[in-house]
Symmetry: C2
Subunit: 203 residues, 2 copies
DNA sequence: CTGTAACCGAAGTGGAGACTCCGATTGTAG
DNA sequence: CTACAATCGGAGTCTCCACTTCGGTTACAG
């Protein structure tokens, strides 16, 4: 019985614990890609079997890499959070802070309209008490972005981050339920942006 | 075999098909009340058994009155839609149209924060192609309310109903996910309202 | 090339929940 | 009061899904 020790957790982030066999590493990547696609389309309620099928592996392989469906979901959320955070930071760093915030808002809503994963992630980010580090990082990146937009006079100074997050989450949620034409999305965002801008700048 | 004919559907609306026995009518009412409470708290994923228990009847009785979980859900949605529509019409009929719309918006969000049923209902109402009559009536009532508010100059004339519905749904959805203190809710609504008002009136 | 340990995957397990069946119960007509 | 048919209710069925198991397969060291 040569195996008595087992890797306690295949780890959440993305890098395997240590020298994973070649085929194992390949399958792990496939599973992550398939899971991201399926979760984005159908939400967290999608069955593990569907993911396995889409990845071209057996269901047992999925559970070998991710002992729980939840752990798989966390891995995806982690990846999405990191990506969103990077985008947000890039926007905050470069160019005009006045337009950066509104560009971020619009872009996030556009993504959310097609990816349930983004919406679920944002819903987590909206709750003040956040456990996961990547989600916390996303929150902070948004805070920076809002702060800069306010300093630039593009957003009313009395607006706080929580309500911005609430609005962001709300519009994203709504974009999932109603099939938005780009036109409707634009008009809805226009109203929200009008509410966020200083009174003088509105219109 | 004296029974060969059976009522094809216990009907969705609320009134029993015909002279229901006394205990049956009482149980039907209890089931509806219990279902409304449970669905409002836990959403449509709540189990039928929990509803039966809360109503103090066996699960068989629930399925006798409502052959499908979906039919029970429809009955509840119907009732909620009718109630919301009446409230909305009353607001549109009475007093100041300028404040009526904002009062409606605020009140609906407050209700949605505690009742998942309301949110699910609104999500249906947001889709242009609506099947159920009560939901359609709700949409029309909102249209009247928005129209009057616009004529009174309280809402920008270029705003259309779909984006108002989208915003309403969005804020309601968001209020479910984040545990809102009244303070945050008020600030979020203030932003949306500022975006809806004519530029001159804002502030 | 060969042994072996790690890996794969599909059948199997257990539980949850929607829905059914049928003997026990009860309202109600006569 | 009695009979009977409608109603009740909960044990049982069926399906779906997360998760496990284990014999077959494969990558990699020697």
């Amino acid at each position: 019985m040569p195996k008595d020790q087992r890797v306690p957790e295949p780890d959440i982030s993305g890098a395997p614990a240590r020298t994973l066999r070649a085929d194992a590493r390949r399958n792990r990547t496939r599973i992550l890609e398939a899971a991201e696609a399926v979760f984005a389309a159908k939400g967290p309620s999608a069955s593990t079997e569907e993911i396995a099928q889409k990845a071209g592996v057996g269901i047992g392989t999925v559970f070998r890499h991710f002992p729980t469906k939840e752990s798989l979901l966390k891995a995806i959320m982690h990846a999405v959070a990191v990506r969103l955070t990077e985008e947000t930071r890039a926007l905050a760093a470069e160019g005009d802070p006045a337009t950066a915030f509104f560009a971020f808002f619009t872009r996030t809503v556009e993504q959310a309209a097609e990816k349930k994963t983004v919406v679920d992630l944002l819903a987590q980010a909206g709750i003040p008490v956040t456990v996961a580090k990547p989600v916390l990082a996303l929150r902070e990146a948004v805070e920076v972005l809002v702060g800069k937009a306010q300093q630039a006079g593009a957003v009313r100074p009395d607006v706080r981050v929580p309500e911005v997050m609430a609005l962001l989450i709300g519009v994203c949620q709504a974009s999932l339920h109603t099939r938005w034409e780009p036109d409707l999305r634009a008009r809805t965002l226009a109203i929200v942006f009008a509410g966020l801008r200083p009174a003088a700048t509105a219109g």
